[in-house]
Protein backbone atom coordinates (compact mmCIF):
# COMPACT_ATOMS: atom_id res chain seq x y z
CA UNK A 1 0.00 0.00 0.00
CA UNK A 2 1.38 3.44 -0.80
CA UNK A 3 0.25 7.01 -1.11
CA UNK A 4 -0.78 6.41 -4.69
CA UNK A 5 -3.56 4.15 -3.41
CA UNK A 6 -5.12 7.00 -1.49
CA UNK A 7 -8.17 8.19 -3.28
CA UNK A 8 -8.35 11.86 -4.07
CA UNK A 9 -10.57 14.22 -2.15
CA UNK A 10 -13.20 13.95 -4.83
CA UNK A 11 -15.15 11.43 -2.79
CA UNK A 12 -17.36 13.28 -0.34
CA UNK A 13 -17.51 10.21 1.94
CA UNK A 14 -13.77 10.04 2.57
CA UNK A 15 -11.33 12.37 4.28
CA UNK A 16 -8.01 11.75 2.46
CA UNK A 17 -6.01 12.73 5.54
CA UNK A 18 -7.92 10.18 7.55
CA UNK A 19 -7.27 7.50 4.91
CA UNK A 20 -3.56 8.38 4.86
CA UNK A 21 -3.32 8.24 8.65
CA UNK A 22 -4.92 4.81 8.63
CA UNK A 23 -2.32 3.61 6.13
CA UNK A 24 0.48 5.18 8.17
CA UNK A 25 -0.82 3.49 11.30
CA UNK A 26 -0.72 0.15 9.50
CA UNK A 27 2.82 0.82 8.25
CA UNK A 28 3.89 1.63 11.82
CA UNK A 29 2.15 -1.43 13.29
CA UNK A 30 5.41 -3.01 14.49
CA UNK A 31 6.67 0.22 16.11
CA UNK A 32 6.48 1.22 19.74
CA UNK A 33 2.91 2.47 20.43
CA UNK A 34 4.15 5.83 21.76
CA UNK A 35 6.27 6.39 18.65
CA UNK A 36 3.31 5.44 16.44
CA UNK A 37 1.16 7.90 18.35
CA UNK A 38 3.71 10.68 17.79
CA UNK A 39 4.10 9.85 14.10
CA UNK A 40 0.33 10.00 13.54
CA UNK A 41 0.05 13.36 15.29
CA UNK A 42 3.01 14.76 13.34
CA UNK A 43 1.39 13.67 10.09
CA UNK A 44 -2.03 14.98 11.00
CA UNK A 45 -0.76 18.38 12.14
CA UNK A 46 1.41 18.76 9.03
CA UNK A 47 -1.21 17.65 6.52
CA UNK A 48 -3.96 19.81 8.01
CA UNK A 49 -1.61 22.82 8.05
CA UNK A 50 -0.64 22.15 4.43
CA UNK A 51 -4.28 21.80 3.32
CA UNK A 52 -5.24 24.94 5.27
CA UNK A 53 -2.48 26.80 3.35
CA UNK A 54 -4.19 25.94 0.07
CA UNK A 55 -2.43 22.75 -1.01
CA UNK A 56 -4.74 20.06 -2.35
CA UNK A 57 -5.01 17.03 -0.02
CA UNK A 58 -3.54 14.70 -2.66
CA UNK A 59 -0.53 16.98 -3.21
CA UNK A 60 -0.03 17.52 0.53
CA UNK A 61 0.04 13.74 1.03
CA UNK A 62 2.37 13.19 -1.94
CA UNK A 63 4.78 15.84 -0.60
CA UNK A 64 4.64 14.33 2.88
CA UNK A 65 5.82 10.93 1.68
CA UNK A 66 4.37 7.44 1.39
CA UNK A 67 3.44 5.65 4.64
CA UNK A 68 6.32 3.21 4.06
CA UNK A 69 8.88 6.02 3.63
CA UNK A 70 7.64 7.78 6.74
CA UNK A 71 7.50 4.55 8.77
CA UNK A 72 11.12 3.82 7.78
CA UNK A 73 12.17 7.31 8.88
CA UNK A 74 10.50 6.89 12.28
CA UNK A 75 11.98 3.44 12.78
CA UNK A 76 15.44 4.96 12.37
CA UNK A 77 15.03 7.23 15.42
CA UNK A 78 17.73 6.24 17.95
CA UNK A 79 16.19 4.71 21.06
CA UNK A 80 18.65 6.33 23.45
CA UNK A 81 19.12 10.06 23.69
CA UNK A 82 22.42 11.82 24.17
CA UNK A 83 24.67 9.32 22.39
CA UNK A 84 24.62 11.25 19.15
CA UNK A 85 25.31 14.51 20.95
CA UNK A 86 28.38 13.12 22.67
CA UNK A 87 29.60 11.81 19.31
CA UNK A 88 29.02 15.25 17.82
CA UNK A 89 30.90 16.90 20.69
CA UNK A 90 33.86 14.54 20.28
CA UNK A 91 33.89 15.15 16.56
CA UNK A 92 33.59 18.94 16.90
CA UNK A 93 36.33 19.14 19.54
CA UNK A 94 38.69 17.14 17.42
CA UNK A 95 37.83 19.18 14.33
CA UNK A 96 38.67 22.36 16.24
CA UNK A 97 42.11 21.12 17.23
CA UNK A 98 43.29 20.01 13.84
CA UNK A 99 44.63 22.53 11.33
CA UNK A 100 43.66 22.09 7.71
CA UNK A 101 42.96 18.39 7.71
CA UNK A 102 40.32 17.61 5.17
CA UNK A 103 37.03 17.45 6.92
CA UNK A 104 34.13 15.89 5.21
CA UNK A 105 30.47 15.31 5.53
CA UNK A 106 31.44 11.83 6.72
CA UNK A 107 31.91 13.51 10.14
CA UNK A 108 28.22 13.59 10.70
CA UNK A 109 27.66 10.22 9.14
CA UNK A 110 30.27 8.80 11.48
CA UNK A 111 28.56 10.42 14.41
CA UNK A 112 25.25 8.88 13.50
CA UNK A 113 26.90 5.53 12.99
CA UNK A 114 28.66 5.83 16.30
CA UNK A 115 25.37 6.47 17.99
CA UNK A 116 23.91 3.27 16.66
CA UNK A 117 26.87 0.95 16.31
CA UNK A 118 30.39 1.40 17.55
CA UNK A 119 31.70 -1.22 15.15
CA UNK A 120 30.15 0.40 12.10
CA UNK A 121 31.39 3.84 13.08
CA UNK A 122 34.92 2.52 13.53
CA UNK A 123 34.91 1.36 9.94
CA UNK A 124 33.11 4.33 8.45
CA UNK A 125 35.06 7.00 10.25
CA UNK A 126 38.56 5.83 9.41
CA UNK A 127 38.59 8.39 6.59
CA UNK A 128 39.01 11.39 8.85
CA UNK A 129 40.89 11.99 12.06
CA UNK A 130 37.94 13.71 13.68
CA UNK A 131 35.58 10.90 12.94
CA UNK A 132 38.18 8.38 14.04
CA UNK A 133 38.52 10.00 17.46
CA UNK A 134 34.75 10.05 17.87
CA UNK A 135 34.61 6.41 16.86
CA UNK A 136 37.41 5.43 19.23
CA UNK A 137 35.63 7.09 22.13
CA UNK A 138 32.48 5.26 21.22
CA UNK A 139 34.30 2.00 20.74
CA UNK A 140 35.57 2.18 24.36
CA UNK A 141 32.13 3.12 25.50
CA UNK A 142 30.70 0.22 23.48
CA UNK A 143 33.09 -2.30 25.08
CA UNK A 144 32.23 -1.07 28.59
CA UNK A 145 28.56 -1.16 27.72
CA UNK A 146 28.93 -4.69 26.38
CA UNK A 147 30.62 -5.84 29.62
CA UNK A 148 27.83 -4.24 31.61
CA UNK A 149 25.23 -5.97 29.47
CA UNK A 150 26.89 -9.36 29.89
CA UNK A 151 26.65 -8.92 33.68
CA UNK A 152 22.93 -8.34 33.28
CA UNK A 153 22.58 -11.77 31.71
CA UNK A 154 23.73 -13.59 34.88
CA UNK A 155 20.75 -15.68 36.03
CA UNK A 156 18.76 -14.22 38.92
CA UNK A 157 21.37 -11.74 40.20
CA UNK A 158 21.79 -10.04 36.80
CA UNK A 159 19.02 -7.70 37.86
CA UNK A 160 21.53 -5.93 40.15
CA UNK A 161 23.25 -4.58 37.03
CA UNK A 162 20.08 -3.38 35.35
CA UNK A 163 19.64 0.41 35.66
CA UNK A 164 15.91 0.15 35.05
CA UNK A 165 15.59 -2.07 38.15
CA UNK A 166 17.23 0.60 40.32
CA UNK A 167 15.16 3.36 38.79
CA UNK A 168 12.03 1.25 39.34
CA UNK A 169 13.10 0.86 42.98
CA UNK A 170 13.34 4.65 43.26
CA UNK A 171 9.92 5.00 41.62
CA UNK A 172 8.08 2.50 43.81
CA UNK A 173 10.05 3.13 46.99
CA UNK A 174 10.25 6.93 46.92
CA UNK A 175 8.39 8.94 44.34
CA UNK A 176 5.48 6.78 43.14
CA UNK A 177 3.39 6.73 46.30
CA UNK A 178 3.57 10.47 47.21
CA UNK A 179 2.60 11.31 43.63
CA UNK A 180 -0.27 8.79 43.64
CA UNK A 181 -1.47 10.22 46.95
CA UNK A 182 -1.37 13.78 45.58
CA UNK A 183 -3.31 12.74 42.43
CA UNK A 184 -5.89 10.89 44.53
CA UNK A 185 -6.41 13.78 46.95
CA UNK A 186 -6.78 16.19 44.01
CA UNK A 187 -9.34 14.06 42.16
CA UNK A 188 -11.36 13.17 45.25
CA UNK A 189 -11.38 16.75 46.59
CA UNK A 190 -12.27 18.49 43.34
CA UNK A 191 -14.60 15.67 42.30
CA UNK A 192 -16.51 15.78 45.60
CA UNK A 193 -16.84 19.57 45.51
CA UNK A 194 -17.96 19.43 41.87
CA UNK A 195 -20.56 16.73 42.52
CA UNK A 196 -21.80 18.61 45.59
CA UNK A 197 -22.21 21.78 43.53
CA UNK A 198 -23.97 20.12 40.62
CA UNK A 199 -27.44 21.29 41.75
CA UNK A 200 -26.31 24.94 41.52
CA UNK A 201 -24.61 24.32 38.13
CA UNK A 202 -21.15 25.49 39.27
CA UNK A 203 -20.35 21.81 39.59
CA UNK A 204 -20.50 21.24 35.85
CA UNK A 205 -17.56 23.49 34.86
CA UNK A 206 -15.69 22.14 37.87
CA UNK A 207 -16.17 18.59 36.58
CA UNK A 208 -14.88 19.62 33.14
CA UNK A 209 -11.91 21.31 34.84
CA UNK A 210 -11.26 18.08 36.75
CA UNK A 211 -11.26 16.13 33.50
CA UNK A 212 -8.82 18.58 31.90
CA UNK A 213 -6.54 18.43 34.94
CA UNK A 214 -6.69 14.60 34.86
CA UNK A 215 -5.40 14.70 31.27
CA UNK A 216 -2.56 17.02 32.25
CA UNK A 217 -1.65 14.98 35.34
CA UNK A 218 -1.72 11.79 33.30
CA UNK A 219 0.69 13.35 30.82
CA UNK A 220 2.96 14.43 33.70
CA UNK A 221 2.79 10.93 35.19
CA UNK A 222 3.78 9.60 31.77
CA UNK A 223 6.94 11.72 31.82
CA UNK A 224 7.79 10.55 35.36
CA UNK A 225 7.16 6.93 34.36
CA UNK A 226 9.33 7.30 31.26
CA UNK A 227 12.15 8.76 33.32
CA UNK A 228 12.03 6.10 36.04
CA UNK A 229 10.64 3.01 34.32
CA UNK A 230 12.23 3.49 30.91
CA UNK A 231 9.19 3.00 28.68
CA UNK A 232 8.77 5.58 25.97
CA UNK A 233 5.75 7.86 26.27
CA UNK A 234 4.29 10.08 23.55
CA UNK A 235 6.17 13.34 23.06
CA UNK A 236 2.94 15.02 22.02
CA UNK A 237 -0.37 15.51 23.68
CA UNK A 238 -3.17 13.96 21.77
CA UNK A 239 -4.70 16.20 19.13
CA UNK A 240 -7.62 18.28 20.22
CA UNK A 241 -9.27 17.32 16.97
CA UNK A 242 -9.05 13.57 16.75
CA UNK A 243 -8.16 11.56 13.71
CA UNK A 244 -10.94 11.66 11.21
CA UNK A 245 -12.48 14.82 12.57
CA UNK A 246 -12.69 17.23 9.73
CA UNK A 247 -13.20 20.35 11.83
CA UNK A 248 -10.90 23.20 10.93
CA UNK A 249 -11.59 25.52 13.86
CA UNK A 250 -10.96 24.49 17.44
CA UNK A 251 -12.99 26.66 19.73
CA UNK A 252 -13.34 26.52 23.49
CA UNK A 253 -16.50 24.42 23.39
CA UNK A 254 -15.25 21.98 20.78
CA UNK A 255 -12.10 21.51 22.87
CA UNK A 256 -14.21 20.65 25.90
CA UNK A 257 -16.46 18.40 23.83
CA UNK A 258 -13.35 16.62 22.61
CA UNK A 259 -12.16 16.08 26.19
CA UNK A 260 -15.54 14.63 27.11
CA UNK A 261 -15.58 12.32 24.08
CA UNK A 262 -11.96 11.25 24.39
CA UNK A 263 -11.60 7.89 26.10
CA UNK A 264 -8.17 8.98 27.37
CA UNK A 265 -9.75 11.62 29.61
CA UNK A 266 -11.80 8.99 31.42
CA UNK A 267 -9.00 6.46 31.47
CA UNK A 268 -6.72 9.11 32.97
CA UNK A 269 -9.29 9.94 35.65
CA UNK A 270 -9.69 6.24 36.43
CA UNK A 271 -5.92 5.82 36.59
CA UNK A 272 -5.47 8.71 39.03
CA UNK A 273 -8.03 7.18 41.41
CA UNK A 274 -7.15 3.53 40.93
CA UNK A 275 -3.43 4.19 41.08
CA UNK A 276 -3.62 5.17 44.77
CA UNK A 277 -4.37 1.77 46.37
CA UNK A 278 -2.06 0.00 43.91
CA UNK A 279 0.76 2.47 44.61
CA UNK A 280 0.19 2.08 48.35
CA UNK A 281 0.50 -1.71 48.06
CA UNK A 282 3.57 -1.40 45.82
CA UNK A 283 5.17 1.16 48.16
CA UNK A 284 4.52 -1.04 51.22
CA UNK A 285 5.86 -4.18 49.55
CA UNK A 286 8.93 -2.40 48.17
CA UNK A 287 9.77 -0.69 51.42
CA UNK A 288 9.17 -3.78 53.59
CA UNK A 289 11.24 -6.07 51.38
CA UNK A 290 14.09 -3.63 50.86
CA UNK A 291 14.30 -2.62 54.53
CA UNK A 292 14.31 -6.27 55.58
CA UNK A 293 17.01 -6.98 53.05
CA UNK A 294 19.10 -4.02 54.14
CA UNK A 295 18.79 -4.95 57.83
CA UNK A 296 19.78 -8.56 57.17
CA UNK A 297 22.75 -7.49 55.05
CA UNK A 298 23.65 -4.69 57.46
CA UNK A 299 23.82 -6.77 60.66
CA UNK A 300 26.81 -8.93 59.63
CA UNK A 301 28.56 -5.74 58.49
CA UNK A 302 28.00 -4.16 61.91
CA UNK A 303 29.27 -7.35 63.52
CA UNK A 304 32.34 -7.26 61.28
CA UNK A 305 33.19 -3.80 62.62
CA UNK A 306 32.64 -4.97 66.22
CA UNK A 307 29.38 -3.11 66.65
CA UNK A 308 26.24 -4.49 68.33
CA UNK A 309 23.15 -5.12 66.22
CA UNK A 310 20.93 -3.45 68.79
CA UNK A 311 20.39 -2.36 72.35
CA UNK A 312 17.57 -3.79 74.45
CA UNK A 313 16.21 -3.38 77.92
CA UNK A 314 14.09 -6.38 78.72
CA UNK A 315 13.01 -8.56 81.55
CA UNK A 316 14.02 -12.20 81.94
CA UNK A 317 10.82 -13.55 80.41
CA UNK A 318 11.44 -11.81 77.05
CA UNK A 319 13.22 -13.84 74.41
CA UNK A 320 14.63 -12.56 71.11
CA UNK A 321 15.32 -15.02 68.33
CA UNK A 322 17.30 -14.40 65.19
CA UNK A 323 17.56 -17.11 62.54
CA UNK A 324 16.34 -19.76 64.99
CA UNK A 325 19.00 -18.76 67.55
CA UNK A 326 18.24 -16.96 70.78
CA UNK A 327 19.94 -13.58 71.13
CA UNK A 328 20.68 -12.51 74.70
CA UNK A 329 21.75 -8.99 75.67
CA UNK A 330 25.07 -8.59 77.43
CA UNK A 331 25.55 -6.80 80.74
CA UNK A 332 25.22 -3.40 79.01
CA UNK A 333 22.00 -4.47 77.27
CA UNK A 334 23.72 -4.72 73.87
CA UNK A 335 22.59 -7.37 71.39
CA UNK A 336 25.25 -9.18 69.38
CA UNK A 337 24.86 -11.25 66.25
CA UNK A 338 24.91 -14.97 67.24
CA UNK A 339 28.04 -16.81 66.14
CA UNK A 340 27.59 -18.42 62.73
CA UNK A 341 24.61 -16.23 61.84
CA UNK A 342 26.59 -13.66 59.83
CA UNK A 343 26.75 -15.53 56.52
CA UNK A 344 23.13 -16.81 56.56
CA UNK A 345 21.97 -13.31 57.50
CA UNK A 346 23.94 -11.72 54.68
CA UNK A 347 22.74 -14.30 52.13
CA UNK A 348 19.14 -13.97 53.25
CA UNK A 349 19.37 -10.17 53.02
CA UNK A 350 20.90 -10.43 49.57
CA UNK A 351 18.02 -12.70 48.51
CA UNK A 352 15.49 -10.20 49.86
CA UNK A 353 17.16 -7.32 48.01
CA UNK A 354 17.38 -9.33 44.78
CA UNK A 355 13.71 -10.29 45.11
CA UNK A 356 12.88 -6.61 45.67
CA UNK A 357 14.70 -5.63 42.48
CA UNK A 358 12.89 -8.31 40.48
CA UNK A 359 9.58 -7.29 42.01
CA UNK A 360 9.98 -3.57 41.23
CA UNK A 361 11.24 -4.33 37.75
CA UNK A 362 8.22 -6.52 37.04
CA UNK A 363 5.80 -4.03 38.57
CA UNK A 364 7.54 -1.25 36.65
CA UNK A 365 7.04 -3.01 33.34
CA UNK A 366 3.33 -3.53 33.99
CA UNK A 367 2.86 0.01 35.33
CA UNK A 368 4.67 1.68 32.47
CA UNK A 369 2.72 -0.21 29.86
CA UNK A 370 -0.59 0.63 31.52
CA UNK A 371 0.32 4.34 31.53
CA UNK A 372 1.52 4.11 27.93
CA UNK A 373 -1.70 2.34 26.89
CA UNK A 374 -3.74 5.16 28.44
CA UNK A 375 -1.73 7.83 26.67
CA UNK A 376 -1.77 6.24 23.24
CA UNK A 377 -5.33 4.92 23.39
CA UNK A 378 -7.26 6.13 20.41
CA UNK A 379 -10.39 5.05 18.68
CA UNK A 380 -9.12 3.09 15.69
CA UNK A 381 -10.07 5.01 12.57
CA UNK A 382 -12.64 3.25 10.47
CA UNK A 383 -11.39 1.67 7.26
CA UNK A 384 -11.85 4.03 4.35
CA UNK A 385 -14.73 3.28 2.08
CA UNK A 386 -14.45 3.87 -1.60
Amino acid sequence: MNSADIPSDQSPSLDPVRAYLLQLELALESCDPALRHDALIDAEVHLRASIAAGTSPAQAIAEYGSPEEIATAYRSIPTTGGSLRSAISASAASAGSRSETVASAVDREASVSAATSADTSATTSATTSAAASAAAAHSDHGAASSRWKSLRRIPLVGVWFHPIAWRSLAYFGIIGFPLALAYFVWVVTVGTIALGMLPILIGLPLLVFLLGSARALSLFEGKVVELFLGVRMPRRTQPVVGIGEGASQVGFWSRILCWLRDIRSWLSLGYLVGNFPISLAAFTATLTLSVMGLVLVGMPILDLFGLPIGVAEMDDSTRIHFLFTEVKPDADGKLWLPPGAAIPSFLLGFCFLTATLWLVRGMGWVYAHVVQAIQVARPRPAAPTR
Binding site: E69, I70, G82, V102, D107, P239, V241, V250
Partner: protein, 121 residues
Amino acid sequence: MSAPLDDKLERDLSVGTAWLVVLATIARAEEPIHGYEIARQLAAEAPEGLSFKQGTLYPMLRTMESEGLLRSALVPSSEGPARKCFTLTADGRRVLVAWHDTWRRTNKWVNRVLGGVDELR
Protein backbone atom coordinates in the same frame (compact mmCIF):
# COMPACT_ATOMS: atom_id res chain seq x y z
CA MET B 1 23.96 -0.29 -14.51
CA SER B 2 24.59 3.41 -14.08
CA ALA B 3 20.89 4.35 -13.80
CA PRO B 4 20.53 3.31 -10.13
CA LEU B 5 23.85 5.00 -9.39
CA ASP B 6 22.68 8.29 -10.89
CA ASP B 7 20.66 9.05 -7.78
CA LYS B 8 23.17 7.65 -5.31
CA LEU B 9 25.08 10.88 -4.75
CA GLU B 10 21.86 12.83 -4.34
CA ARG B 11 20.61 10.32 -1.76
CA ASP B 12 23.90 10.25 0.14
CA LEU B 13 24.24 14.01 0.09
CA SER B 14 20.69 14.54 1.29
CA VAL B 15 21.34 12.24 4.25
CA GLY B 16 24.48 14.18 5.11
CA THR B 17 23.13 17.67 4.62
CA ALA B 18 19.53 17.37 5.84
CA TRP B 19 20.46 18.01 9.47
CA LEU B 20 22.59 20.98 8.50
CA VAL B 21 19.86 22.71 6.48
CA VAL B 22 17.19 21.97 9.07
CA LEU B 23 19.33 23.45 11.85
CA ALA B 24 20.10 26.45 9.65
CA THR B 25 16.41 27.01 8.85
CA ILE B 26 15.53 26.98 12.54
CA ALA B 27 18.49 29.25 13.37
CA ARG B 28 17.52 31.96 10.89
CA ALA B 29 13.85 32.02 11.91
CA GLU B 30 13.15 35.05 14.05
CA GLU B 31 10.53 33.23 16.12
CA PRO B 32 10.02 29.61 17.16
CA ILE B 33 9.22 27.76 13.96
CA HIS B 34 6.96 24.72 13.46
CA GLY B 35 7.60 21.65 11.36
CA TYR B 36 5.30 22.59 8.53
CA GLU B 37 6.95 26.00 8.13
CA ILE B 38 10.43 24.43 8.12
CA ALA B 39 9.30 21.97 5.43
CA ARG B 40 7.70 24.78 3.42
CA GLN B 41 10.83 26.92 3.50
CA LEU B 42 13.07 24.00 2.58
CA ALA B 43 10.79 23.00 -0.30
CA ALA B 44 10.61 26.61 -1.55
CA GLU B 45 14.40 26.92 -1.61
CA ALA B 46 15.17 23.45 -2.96
CA PRO B 47 16.80 23.58 -6.40
CA GLU B 48 14.83 22.19 -9.29
CA GLY B 49 14.94 18.42 -9.48
CA LEU B 50 15.77 18.06 -5.79
CA SER B 51 12.94 17.11 -3.50
CA PHE B 52 12.62 15.67 -0.05
CA LYS B 53 9.72 13.95 1.65
CA GLN B 54 8.44 16.43 4.18
CA GLY B 55 7.33 13.71 6.58
CA THR B 56 10.92 12.58 7.13
CA LEU B 57 11.58 15.96 8.74
CA TYR B 58 9.65 15.09 11.91
CA PRO B 59 11.68 12.08 13.06
CA MET B 60 14.75 14.22 12.40
CA LEU B 61 13.36 17.02 14.60
CA ARG B 62 12.57 14.49 17.34
CA THR B 63 16.09 13.10 17.27
CA MET B 64 17.57 16.60 17.33
CA GLU B 65 15.38 17.48 20.30
CA SER B 66 16.29 14.34 22.22
CA GLU B 67 19.95 15.10 21.53
CA GLY B 68 19.51 18.54 23.06
CA LEU B 69 20.04 20.52 19.86
CA LEU B 70 16.48 21.89 19.84
CA ARG B 71 13.87 22.83 22.36
CA SER B 72 10.17 22.88 21.60
CA ALA B 73 6.93 24.33 22.86
CA LEU B 74 3.35 23.60 21.90
CA VAL B 75 1.58 26.56 20.37
CA PRO B 76 -2.22 26.46 19.88
CA SER B 77 -3.32 26.56 16.27
CA SER B 78 -6.62 27.59 14.75
CA GLU B 79 -6.22 24.94 12.03
CA GLY B 80 -6.25 21.85 14.21
CA PRO B 81 -4.06 20.32 16.87
CA ALA B 82 -1.50 22.48 18.66
CA ARG B 83 1.75 22.88 16.74
CA LYS B 84 5.17 22.08 18.10
CA CYS B 85 7.46 25.06 17.54
CA PHE B 86 11.25 24.71 17.68
CA THR B 87 14.19 26.91 18.63
CA LEU B 88 17.90 26.09 18.76
CA THR B 89 19.53 25.44 22.11
CA ALA B 90 23.06 26.65 22.89
CA ASP B 91 24.31 23.16 21.95
CA GLY B 92 22.34 23.34 18.71
CA ARG B 93 23.97 26.67 17.84
CA ARG B 94 27.43 25.33 18.63
CA VAL B 95 26.85 22.21 16.51
CA LEU B 96 25.48 24.30 13.64
CA VAL B 97 28.57 26.52 13.68
CA ALA B 98 30.86 23.46 13.73
CA TRP B 99 28.98 21.76 10.90
CA HIS B 100 28.86 24.95 8.88
CA ASP B 101 32.62 25.15 9.17
CA THR B 102 32.92 21.49 8.14
CA TRP B 103 30.61 22.09 5.21
CA ARG B 104 32.60 25.11 3.96
CA ARG B 105 35.86 23.20 4.08
CA THR B 106 34.31 20.13 2.41
CA ASN B 107 32.73 22.30 -0.26
CA LYS B 108 36.08 24.00 -0.95
CA TRP B 109 37.86 20.65 -1.16
CA VAL B 110 35.26 19.03 -3.43
CA ASN B 111 35.18 22.08 -5.73
CA ARG B 112 38.98 22.05 -5.94
CA VAL B 113 39.02 18.37 -6.90
CA LEU B 114 36.09 18.71 -9.30
CA GLY B 115 37.84 21.57 -11.07
CA GLY B 116 40.03 18.97 -12.73
CA VAL B 117 37.15 17.06 -14.31
CA ASP B 118 35.50 20.00 -16.07
CA GLU B 119 36.84 18.85 -19.42
CA LEU B 120 34.68 15.66 -19.12
CA ARG B 121 31.56 17.70 -19.77
